[in-house]
């Protein structure tokens, strides 16, 4: 049975709600849905946008894992990529700029039975929402996090983002980005309690899918940076890597991201044990090669929602307890 169904995980936190849910017949659980069944309206991204590729991989993942749409929540911030929940037939919450992670935290904290995904762009996650990003890594809640990194603010039309390569011109830094870019992988790997850090690329669909699948299977904060082309504002940032597989290096390991079928195209391979945090940090430094694969995984890192075990009471029991609490304040 796919993860997220009741009877597993945090249901102990809210057995009341869980048992309530269990008595309701769930229309979708007994039939298998295909990727198209998870689609909603026609996406309004530009032709050639990497978001389309991510949406396809997500739909495929949902179908592959047979996740019940009503028990799946996609939370996003603001930006091109944050429109993704609108194009899915699950629950979605298209919030405000930079704040997807606090909302996702609130959902997961009280409803561990739900499958929670957070979708953010590079401005969303690494700039305006950077504070939440750091702390969400530390909370290590069971949320699958997709950073759709096109290295630019696109919805607002071409402004430099924290991940824009140095020297790359935009409307706000027309002489080129002043500073070296922030590296989302090293930042994530630097935070205490990081538990899953991977990188993939939207133009390698099988690797993208396998990475999402591994992220989904990990119990904890699964951080996936997806390298992504913006055909309008950053068409060339990753274009050389798209045309020249020699610029890509796959991280391979038995516990890593499966790379079956990619051997012929991507010949650069780097063996890396995802338990090796030091090695992960070294490999995550950008040295001209785009490394795809699992950098780090630690299934034993504590999860915030697991540390918060709460008793469950009926309303009457709570009121009786409260009445006793008033005794302490009695005159």
């Amino acid at each position: 049975m796919p993860r997220g169904h009741f009877g597993e995980g945090g249901c102990s936190v809210i057995p009341f709600a869980s048992s309530l849910l269990d008595c309701v017949s769930c229309s979708t659980e007994d039939k298998h849905l295909g990727p198209a069944d998870y689609g909603s309206s026609v996406p309004r991204w530009c032709p050639g946008c990497g978001d389309h590729s991510v949406l396809t991989a997500v739909q495929r993942l949902l179908a592959d894992e047979n996740l019940p749409p009503e028990r799946t929540v996609f939370v996003s911030g603001i930006g091109c990529s944050s429109r993704l929940p609108h194009y899915l037939k699950t629950y979605g919450f298209h919030g405000i700029h930079g704040r997807a992670l606090p909302i996702a935290t609130g959902v997961k904290l009280h409803r561990p039975d739900l499958n929670v995904f957070a979708v953010m762009g590079d401005g969303d996650c690494c700039s305006i929402g950077a504070g939440h990003w750091i702390h969400a890594i530390r909370y290590n809640m069971d949320i699958t996090v997709l950073l759709l990194d096109n290295c630019i603010y696109a919805l607002t039309k071409d402004q430099t983002s924290p991940t824009t390569p140095q020297g790359y011109a935009s409307n706000t830094q027309p002489k080129g980005s002043w500073l070296p870019p922030l590296n989302p992988l090293t930042v994530t790997l630097g935070v205490t309690n990081a538990s899953f850090v991977a990188q993939t690329a939207e133009w390698v669909p099988s690797h993208l899918f396998e990475t999402l699948k591994a992220a989904r299977a990990h119990r904890g904060f699964s951080f996936v940076r997806i390298l992504q082309r913006c055909p309008v504002f950053t068409p060339d940032i990753f274009q050389k890597a798209v045309r020249d597989p020699g610029q890509i290096e796959l991280l391979v390991h038995d516990d890593g991201i499966p790379t079956a079928g990619l051997e012929n195209l991507y010949k650069n391979r780097q063996a890396h044990d995802p338990r090796d945090l030091h090695g992960a940090r070294r490999l995550a430094e950008f040295d001209g090669k785009f490394r795809l694969g699992l950098f780090f995984k630690d299934a034993s890192a504590p999860r915030y929602e697991e540390t918060r075990h709460l008793p469950v009471h009926t309303a009457q029991e709570r009121m009786d307890l409260l009445d006793r609490e008033f005794d302490r304040y009695a005159v």
């Binding site: 309530l20 849910l21 028990r71 609130g106 904290l109 739900l114």
Partner: protein, 642 residues
């Protein structure tokens, strides 16, 4: 000043006076205990207040708090302690000036003197060790302070607190407060068994040894006072007060959250709101609730919104600067119609302002901080008892109307302690379990009833209810829509909910006659002080009434009609307004008190205002002065500092 150097000695004359003390009969009396931070004055005051409540007195206890944790010792600005006002009937505010002050050093009482907190005939019981301190600078400071205090006819009585305490303990700094408690117990005739019981309760987490030491010190103070003081104060208690509880406003908020069935308190530390979460952190898990300390104010409300979206009942608690940070998320909750309770314990602003001090300066920002039209509910409890009940009301409104509800309290309610009738708990105050029944095909999450603006909410887990909430303009199915008609309709539907709620509210009751010369309008923590001032004015024969508003958005009905029955209407608020007599201020450019600004817009009545931002609760005497200034035929009575 009389008796500047009164130092009771065991001469035969004073022994006679002490043996036959003068009894001061009083309907009410106000005591202050002031010390440096960390000397335990607040614990002493809390015990004295609780014992007085148990003996049937009406009580209002308020903390006197410096802004720093450890301000310099013996500093004028560092006064830390309590004011306890006790009465023969219910006490609703902290009163005007103190009648008796116990000071652990001369500097802290000087601070109170300069704030005009002391009555002219105030008795000051002061630790006298500083007069003979080995450090010459300390002795000089003592002399200068006593000299300054002599500008008023206070009666200063020197008390050898340190000296007496050292007969029992090695370090008098820890324990002097119990000596003071003993003195007060003697002066006010407190029942010693109740005092001991309360000491036991206060130090319940400490050892038996400490309890016994504290009782010993208390008895020492009691004995000293019995032997040396020539006066007692008798404030008779009420015969039967019914079952009462006593707590501060923040504890009442915390208990209200439990009573309302809240699941989550998501917060970030900020003064003076934090003690709500301190209280809940201690007890909430026992009830199955959770306190989540988020990484910042924005995340705190974001987590609460996420939990609420997922079908749980959640609230966040903050103060002005935090409310400012939460602005964008509140707009999202309004736009996406997510139930949420936001408690704002107001402090002095703008910016970091006066972190520990009271102000009612966030009314307009609570109402209007968001971009666009963002209707929400704003309620202000007026008493500590209401702090408890308001959360139940707020939670129900939030869910019934799918809207954020902002509760405005302030530092006065947060730290004020007052007994009130023990609530009779009702299980219906709890939230119903979330509806998880499947949604019929094709139904959208914003299918507004066009008459009321209300719509049914679907939460994750409900089969068939899948949709994506958004802060973008959206249609009935939560689809992003930019067309003019959709945006106009969505705004109208969200606004209509407030009109519907307003239709369910009652016109607030008038304190006093329904028509007359002058109507005082207030909101929030000032109710007790305003009504006391109005009562005094009415006793003088003035035609004055008052009305107190609980709902600030939507406003209660019938206000315009009510106001027109009075010749003059003015608000009393703890926020800034221009004084009409100040340079450049005209009727046209005058910036008015926040409630008066709203009432003028709402009622088209020329509502005046009297507001102050002294960083302390209003005194009834100040309000009475403002009434005199506006009331035809008033003889100028004794007011407070203006």
């Amino acid at each position: 000043m009389t008796d500047t150097t009164t130092k009771p000695a065991r001469t035969s004359a004073s022994a006679v006076a002490a043996a036959n003390p003068r009894i001061i009969e009083a309907r009410e009396h106000t005591v202050e205990i002031v010390s440096d931070s960390g000397e335990g004055a607040q614990k002493c005051g809390q015990i004295f207040g609780a014992v007085s409540a148990k003996m049937g007195n009406g009580v209002w206890t308020v903390e006197i708090i410096p802004a720093e944790i450890q301000p310099p010792a013996r500093s004028v600005a560092g006064a830390s302690g309590n004011r306890i006002r006790i009465g023969s009937g219910p006490v609703t505010n902290w009163g005007d000036e103190a009648h008796l002050v116990v000071a652990f050093n001369e500097q802290v009482v000087l601070g109170r003197h300069r704030l005009e907190a002391l009555a002219d005939d105030c008795v000051i019981l002061i630790e006298d060790m500083w007069a003979s301190h080995p450090d010459e600078a300390v002795r000089a400071a003592w002399t200068a302070a006593i000299e300054e205090l002599s500008s008023k006819p206070y009666r200063v009585i020197r008390v050898p607190m340190e000296e007496r305490c050292l007969t029992l303990v090695e370090n008098a700094r820890k324990g002097k407060n119990m000596f003071v408690l003993g003195m007060l117990s003697c002066i006010y005739g407190r029942d010693l068994q109740r005092v001991k019981d309360q000491i036991a309760h206060q130090f319940r987490k400490k050892s038996q040894e400490l309890y016994e030491q504290n009782v010993g010190l208390m008895e020492l103070g009691h004995a000293w006072a019995a032997e040396n003081l020539d006066f007692r104060v008798n404030v008779p208690g009420m015969a039967d007060t019914g079952e009462m509880v006593v707590m501060n406003g923040n504890e009442a908020i915390g208990m209200g959250c439990v009573a309302s069935g809240m699941d989550l308190c998501s917060m970030y530390p900020i003064t003076p709101a934090t003690s709500v979460s301190h209280y809940l952190s201690e007890v909430f898990e026992k009830f199955g609730g959770m306190v989540h300390q988020a990484e910042d104010e924005i995340a705190a409300i974001g987590v609460a919104i996420g939990a609420s979206y997922a079908g749980k009942t959640a609230f966040t608690v903050t103060s002005g600067p935090g409310l400012a940070l939460k602005t964008e998320f509140i707009g999202l909750a309004i736009m996406a119609e997510i139930p949420l309770v936001i408690v704002n314990v107001q402090r002095g602003g703008p910016s970091t302002g006066l972190p520990t001090k009271v102000e009612q300066g966030d009314l307009l920002s609570a109402l209007y901080a968001q971009p666009g039209d963002a209707p929400r509910v704003v309620i202000a409890p007026a008493t500590i008892e209401e702090c408890f009940h308001v959360v139940v009301t707020a939670r129900r409104i939030a869910e019934a109307f799918r809207t954020p509800v902002i509760i405005l309290t302030d530092a006065n309610l947060a730290t004020g302690v007052q007994p009130f009738a023990r609530p009779k708990l009702d299980v219906r105050w709890h939230a119903s379990p979330p509806d998880q029944s499947p949604v019929s095909a094709g139904k959208g999450p914003f299918e507004w009833d066009t008459r009321t603006g209300l719509s049914e909410r679907f939460i994750p887990g409900q089969a068939g209810g899948m949709h994506t909430l958004t802060g973008l303009s959206h249609d009935e199915k939560s689809r992003v829509a930019y067309d003019a008609a959709t945006h106009q309709r969505g705004c109208a539907m969200r606004s209509r909910k407030l009109a519907v709620l307003q239709q369910t509210l009652k016109t607030p009751e008038i304190h006093g006659d329904a028509a007359g010369d002058l109507l005082v309008v207030g909101w929030g923590s000032t109710k007790g002080a305003i009504e006391e001032a109005v009562d005094r004015a009415r006793a003088e024969g003035l035609s004055v009434s008052s009305v107190h508003l609980r709902f600030l958005s939507p406003m209660e009905p019938g206000l315009g009609e009510m106001f027109r029955r009075f010749k003059k209407v003015f608000t009393v608020e703890i926020n800034y307004s221009d004084d009409p007599s100040d340079p450049f201020i005209t009727d046209e450019n005058r910036r008015r008190g926040q409630l008066s600004w709203m009432l003028r817009a709402q009622t088209l009545v020329d509502v005046d205002c009297w507001t102050r931002v002294f960083g302390e609760p209003l005194r009834p005497g100040q309000i009475l002065q403002a009434i005199h200034d506006r009331c035809p035929g008033a003889t100028s009575g004794k007011g407070g500092a203006l």
